[in-house]
């Protein structure tokens, strides 16, 4: 199965008035056709920046791709023409944003906002078909079609997120970037939304990158997972490989310690000490050095190599160098 999306060594910076923020530093990631990849990491790890760079929606004059490449099927996103990108967005790749409250245009009817995607990408489809398509996708996400003439402010948070999902999937995109789609929702709604997304994914056989900081969701819904820290991928592999917890990047191990485990008797969770590296002046070597218990001179000196500890299971840490013992 060839890769649908290949991001190689992507570096992205934000030029704000005060300073330059290094959002992505050598970000490499690939997604296969129909695969559901969970992208995990703390806030500020560059997850949203990755999605925006893939759609080339970085804020102009501020966000800038310094180096690296993004390839979607055979199109090089960074060099694609404006027209090509317009055809891509919404049809081939579509995105679901985090906050449902402000994701919809408050002065446009919900139905029209969905139909807009069809108007853009299926101009020759007859209006009657378009309406039918909108009704169909609305029922799919669990909203009665009669409500399509209502306005966003007449919907609850959960319902709005369903509309956003409908909008993202109506054109049956090949790749769906979901940027923490359920964070703003409470747990009960969260489960429904995720179940819905999985069902639709199968139906349209589209790949999905589910960006979240909740390992529980990744374990339950994704096939593979990538752990992002300070703008780069520190570990990636299948759910089984990573969640087996025998070989993990120290940061991933720290993340696992933060999850309350029904079986363990530990009175307290052990948070990861220290703070995320400051994106304005990143350390030379491994970004996790200042918080890593096994930090060595080598780690501080240079960025560690990505090591393949098992077929498809990569960890970017000197501990797992060929011949190293691995703790």
């Amino acid at each position: 199965m060839e890769n649908l999306l290949e991001i190689k060594d992507l570096n992205v910076i934000y030029k704000t008035d005060e300073a330059i923020v290094h959002a992505l530093n050598g970000f490499t990631l690939s997604v296969k056709k129909g695969e559901t990849l969970g992208l995990v990491g703390e806030t500020g790890a560059g997850k949203t920046t990755m999605c925006l760079s893939t759609l080339r929606l970085l804020p102009d004059q501020v966000g800038e791709v310094v180096s690296g490449s993004i390839k979607y099927r055979n199109i090089d996103i960074l060099k694609a023409s404006k027209k090509e990108m317009l055809k891509l967005r919404g049809a081939e790749i579509s995105m679901i944003f985090q906050d449902p409250m402000s994701g919809l245009n408050p002065v446009m009817r919900v139905g029209d906002q969905i139909k807009e995607v069809l108007n853009l990408h299926f101009p020759d489809m007859s209006p009657k078909d378009k309406d039918a398509r909108v009704d169909e996708v609305l029922t799919l996400v669990g909203i009665t079609p009669e409500r399509k003439d209502q306005f966003p402010h007449q919907f609850s948070g959960g319902m709005k997120q369903r509309v956003v999902i409908a909008m993202a999937l109506v054109a049956e995109p090949k790749l769906l970037l979901a940027d923490e789609p359920t964070t703003a929702l409470d747990v009960t709604i969260q489960a429904q939304i995720l179940a819905l997304m999985r069902e639709l994914k199968e139906k349209f056989d589209s790949a999905m990158v589910l960006v979240t900081h909740d390992l529980g969701i990744v374990a339950e819904f994704c096939e593979s997972v990538a752990v992002a820290y300070a703008g780069e991928i520190v570990e990636s592999g299948t759910i089984e490989q990573v969640f087996a917890r025998d070989k993990n990047h120290p940061y991933t191990k720290g993340l696992f310690n933060c999850i309350p485990d029904l079986t363990s008797t530990a009175p307290r969770l052990t948070p990861i000490p220290g703070y995320m590296a400051n994106p304005r002046d990143l350390p030379k070597g491994c970004k996790f050095a200042n918080r890593c218990a096994h930090c060595t001179e080598k780690c501080m000196a240079a960025v560690p190599e990505m090591q393949e500890v098992a077929p498809g299971h990569f960890i970017k840490c000197n501990l797992f160098e060929k011949g190293a013992s691995g703790q």
Partner: protein, 308 residues
């Protein structure tokens, strides 16, 4: 909608009564005896007394006010004290001129202000943005009469393109409309830029882009549509600025509207004319505010009329 409009019109009545009473009170407590002024210095005491009685000035202020409003209700604005003709006929001639000039000024100010505001918001922090900011701030800062005079000297005297005074042909309207609309154009441009900048940063604009919309559609169909609310409020406020500004522009260009008429009446303390003008202006400003509120509901579904 109709219930709301009716309620608003009823609400306007106390406001209009309030402002007319305030103005009448101020004019009446002012020093100087109007009757004496009208009859002139050579008149005898009986002349003055006869005039006072004729104008009803010997009655208490409140009674005079009520009498005036009662007549005004019946369309009789009384006769001007110093020029002895019916105020109503004068107004029916002059009001159309002021309204025409006002509309012309607002139309060009909006038609140019909003697009340029959009351009300076989209091209944020570029030379275009700075140039438009400085231009609009200059137009807001320069006194209207000074600009009016400069236009006159430049356009009609040096270039001989346009007439400097009067209102007989449409070309007479250009210079007054330009100088009257200057300040309003600037505020429109500034408001559009500020609010559009705000909306361009919001999430649904990013969603619109993610759907594959072209930048033009994103800016106009999504972003601008959402910042129409404050822009329309600004247009409502503009109209009352224009009514104020017309006093000056009409004096500079000898334009036969109620502006120049009002300033002479105020100076000579010709009470019937001042009262009639304040009444008419208050009604016009009241109506424009009502129209602006009604447009809120049209523009933004979240606004329920009556929930004001």
């Amino acid at each position: 909608m109709i219930k709301y409009t009716l309620r608003r019109i009823l609400l306007m009545i106390p406001v209009i009564i309030g402002i007319t009473f305030l103005v009448h009170f101020i004019l009446m407590i002012s020093p100087g005896d109007p009757a004496q002024m009208i009859v002139g210095p050579e008149a005898t005491l009986e002349d003055i007394e006869m005039k006072r009685h004729e104008l009803g000035l010997d009655q208490p202020q409140v009674v005079q006010y009520l009498k005036y409003m009662w007549n005004a209700l019946h369309g009789d604005f009384g006769t001007s004290w110093f020029q002895s003709f019916n105020v109503m006929t004068e107004f029916s001639h002059r009001l159309p001129y002021t309204l025409r000039l006002g509309f012309l000024a607002i139309i060009w100010a909006v038609a140019l202000g909003i697009p340029l505001g959009v351009i300076s918001a989209v091209r944020h922090n570029t030379i275009v943005d700075y140039a438009l900011t400085v231009l609009s701030l200059i137009l807001v800062s320069a006194p209207a009469f000074w600009i009016g005079m400069m236009y006159q000297v430049f356009f009609s005297l040096n270039l001989r393109w346009l007439p400097a005074s009067g209102a007989s042909t449409w070309r007479h309207y250009i210079l007054p409309a330009l100088s009257l609309g200057g300040g309003v154009f600037a505020t429109n441009c500034r408001t559009t830029r500020t609010w559009l900048l705000d909306t361009l940063r919001s999430d649904f604009v990013r969603t619109a882009r993610a759907k594959g919309n072209k930048e033009v559609t994103v800016v106009f169909k999504h972003a601008l549509r959402n910042s129409l609310l404050p822009i329309i409020t600004q247009i409502g406020v503009n109209f009352s600025i224009i009514m104020g500004g017309s006093v000056i522009t009409e004096t500079v260009y000898a334009f036969p509207g109620i502006g120049s008429y009002l300033i002479n009446a105020v100076k000579a303390k010709d009470v019937p004319i001042v009262m009639a003008s304040i009444l008419v202006v208050a009604v016009i400003v009241g109506i424009t505010n009502l129209v602006v509120d009604l447009m809120y509901a049209v523009v933004d579904p979240r606004v329920q009329l009556g929930g004001k």
